[in-house]
């Protein structure tokens, strides 16, 4: 079974006033149809930028290199025409803040219908409107025919995010990228939205990439997890393995820093993320890693299978013995 999304050696950099920022420095991964890949990392890790880059939504100052294929279509360096064909039909994205992500002056139903009409060329406007109402119903919006005529600001946060999902799945995309879909929502609403996404992926077989910094969301939804730091993937594995037997010091630090019953004090990871204008040599995490040695300053560590996960740490096997 070929992967829905296949990424090889993806690199993204930005030209700014202060210099060139290397946001993504060579990542490789596949997402299979029907699976949920959770992508975890702090702000600045490159988790959002990599997917915005693949979709071509980063603007003129961004330079994207490497390869990203949806099915057989290569997206890096593709013509604007190809990109427009892929966006919204093969690959769709939902964003963090649904209030600002929806056009405030267009009716909600029209925005969903626009998605349909852009890619399904033999659909009439009336058909699109009807289908839009159906989609709103599928994502669980009550009285969809009435609500389709309303505007974004007349919906609650959770409802708005459902609208975004309806829009995203309108053309049955192979890949759905959800960039922090629940971060702006209440905790109770978060669970509902995740459930909607889950249901859709089961019914439609969509490959889902769930980008988040919230490990709880990942634990609930993801099949596999990919941890990113400073523009690189530092660890990857199925969700159980990552949570039960993480090998990379950063992953371990993340899990340790979660507040838990029985822990008296919070243990954050010391230090701060590195400056991506001049990324450090070798492993970017070594400034904050308790186990860093001179070997860590050498080449960029590659992902290697250690125990149950793949880890990008040259000392992983040694540390396994220690821990």
């Amino acid at each position: 079974m070929s992967a829905a999304l296949s990424v090889r050696d993806l690199r993204v950099s930005f030209k700014t006033l202060l210099g060139t920022v290397q946001a993504v420095r060579g990542i490789n991964f596949d997402v299979e149809p029907g699976e949920v890949l959770g992508v975890v990392g702090e702000s600045g890790s490159g988790k959002s930028v990599s997917f915005l880059g693949i979709m071509g939504l980063l603007g003129r100052s961004a330079v994207i290199e490497g390869s990203a294929k949806v099915g057989d279509v290569e997206l890096v360096g593709a013509s604007p025409r190809t990109m427009r064909k892929v966006r919204g039909s093969e690959m769709a994205m939902i964003f963090q803040d649904p209030l600002s992500a929806l056009n405030p002056v267009h009716r909600v139903g029209a925005q969903v219908a626009e998605m349909l009409l852009a890619h399904q060329h033999d659909m009439t406007k009336a058909q699109a409107r009807a289908r839009a109402i159906e989609l709103l119903d599928i994502v669980g919006i009550p009285q969809p025919d009435q609500r389709a005529r309303q505007y974004a600001h007349e919906f609650s946060g959770g409802m708005r995010q459902r609208v975004m999902i309806a829009m995203a799945i309108a053309n049955n995309p192979k890949v759905l990228i959800a960039d922090e879909p629940t971060t702006a929502l209440d905790v109770t609403v978060q669970a509902q939205i995740l459930e909607v996404i889950d249901r859709i992926r089961k019914e439609m077989g969509t490959a889902v990439v769930l980008i988040t910094h919230d490990l709880g969301v990942v634990a609930r939804m993801a099949d596999r997890v990919q941890v990113m730091y400073a523009g690189r993937v530092v660890e990857r594995g199925d969700v159980h393995s990552i949570f039960q037997q993480p090998d990379h010091p950063y992953t371990r630090g993340l899990l340790h820093s979660l507040p838990g019953l029985g822990r008296e004090r919070l243990t954050p990871i010391p230090g701060a993320p590195p400056n991506m204008l001049q990324p450090p040599s070798g492993c970017a995490f070594r400034a904050r890693c308790a186990h860093a040695t001179e070997a860590c300053a050498g080449e960029l560590p590659e992902l290697v299978s250690v125990r149950r996960t793949e880890t990008a740490c040259v000392r992983a096997t040694e540390l396994e013995v220690i821990s």
Binding site: L102, N103, M167
Partner: protein, 329 residues
């Protein structure tokens, strides 16, 4: 919506009354109608009985009480259509005011149309490639336009296109003043446009500068918004993204500004009309002011103020119509 309009109009009345009262007091102090009358009619000035009569007829009593009484007298006269004649020449005010209004509206609308069309186009042109050459050119051009005040561009244009042109080519390209050649009767579109050309250019310079800046700012704002990113993520054509999403949103504040701007057209062209002696509201004001002609200045002020109030209301209505987030209450 209807309730809102009614409520605004209801509020407009006391506002208008208050403003006209303040203006009444200010103009009476500033122009001293009695003294102006005496200046224009020196023989009558020597007859105290005639002067006292003038005071009674026109409500020019002194003191705070006198001013209030005088205002009320003026107000009743104004509302019933019984307007005092001008001080100089004792002419009825309305016919000249009406003509001046029509002329200014003509000039103002043409200049606004040019300003809006050209300005908005330039603004869009610049915003699509921010930071690049075209953006810098438009931005710099707009600032230069702002800095070239009407009295400067008017005089320079007169020099160039009329006087110097005659020296080089024998005849001026465009006439320097008025609306028709002296003695002309009737309506002639081509001639009128010829005479309006320079005033329109002068006013347009500032108009184009302003609208290109507004549009550029508004469009840049919209282009960096999240919903624009969503629109692109949908894979719709770039043209549709720009028109249906970007422009549609960027135009909302512009329409409001345009409505306010147009409201100012009736009173705002004083300089241009003055330099080119174009017989509009601006010239009317200048002549009346230099004569201290109170009976002409008051109705003029009422027209101006009403225009501002009405177009303010239109601007708010337009905003609410275009942006569903705005609730009118």
């Amino acid at each position: 919506m209807l309730r809102y309009i009614l409520r605004r109009l209801l509020w407009a009345i006391p506002t208008l009354l208050l403003v006209t009262f303040v203006v009444y007091c200010a103009l009476r102090i500033a122009t001293n109608p009695l003294a102006s009358y005496a200046r224009s009619n020196p023989r009558l000035a020597k007859q105290p009985a005639k002067m006292a009569q003038y005071i009674e007829v026109n409500g020019l009593w002194d003191g705070p009480g006198g001013y209030v009484r005088g205002y009320l007298k003026w107000l009743t006269g104004f509302v019933t259509g019984d307007w005092q004649p001008s001080i100089k020449g004792s002419r009825p005010v309305w016919p000249n005011l009406k003509d001046a209004l029509v002329n200014s509206v003509r000039l103002g609308l043409v200049a606004s149309a040019v300003g809006i069309l050209v300005g908005l186009t330039l603004g869009v042109f610049a915003a699509l490639r921010p930071g690049k050459l075209r953006d810098t050119v438009v931005n710099t051009g707009a600032l230069i336009g702002f800095s070239v005040q009407p009295f400067i561009s008017a005089v320079l244009l007169q020099l160039l296109l009329s006087v110097q042109w005659s020296k080089w080519f024998g005849e001026p390209l465009l006439p320097t003043s008025g609306m028709y050649p002296p003695g002309h009767k009737g309506f002639d579109l081509f001639l009128m446009l010829k005479y309006m050309a320079m005033p329109v250019i002068v006013v347009s310079i500032q108009s184009v500068a302003a609208y290109s800046r507004y549009m550029r700012a508004s469009l840049l704002d919209v282009l960096s918004s999240d919903y624009l990113r969503t629109a692109r993520a949908k894979g719709i054509s770039e043209r549709r993204v720009l028109v249906t999403h970007a422009l549609r949103n960027a135009l909302v504040p512009i329409v409001t500004l345009a409505a306010l701007d147009i409201g100012l057209v009736v009173g705002g062209l004083i300089i241009s009309e003055g330099v080119f002696e174009y017989p509009g509201m601006g010239m009317f004001f200048l002549t009346a002011q230099s004569n201290g002609d109170f009976p002409e200045l008051m109705p003029w002020m009422v027209v101006i103020t009403s225009s501002v109030i009405v177009f303010n209301l239109l601007a708010d209505l337009a905003y609410a119509w275009l942006d569903p987030r705005i609730r009118l209450d």
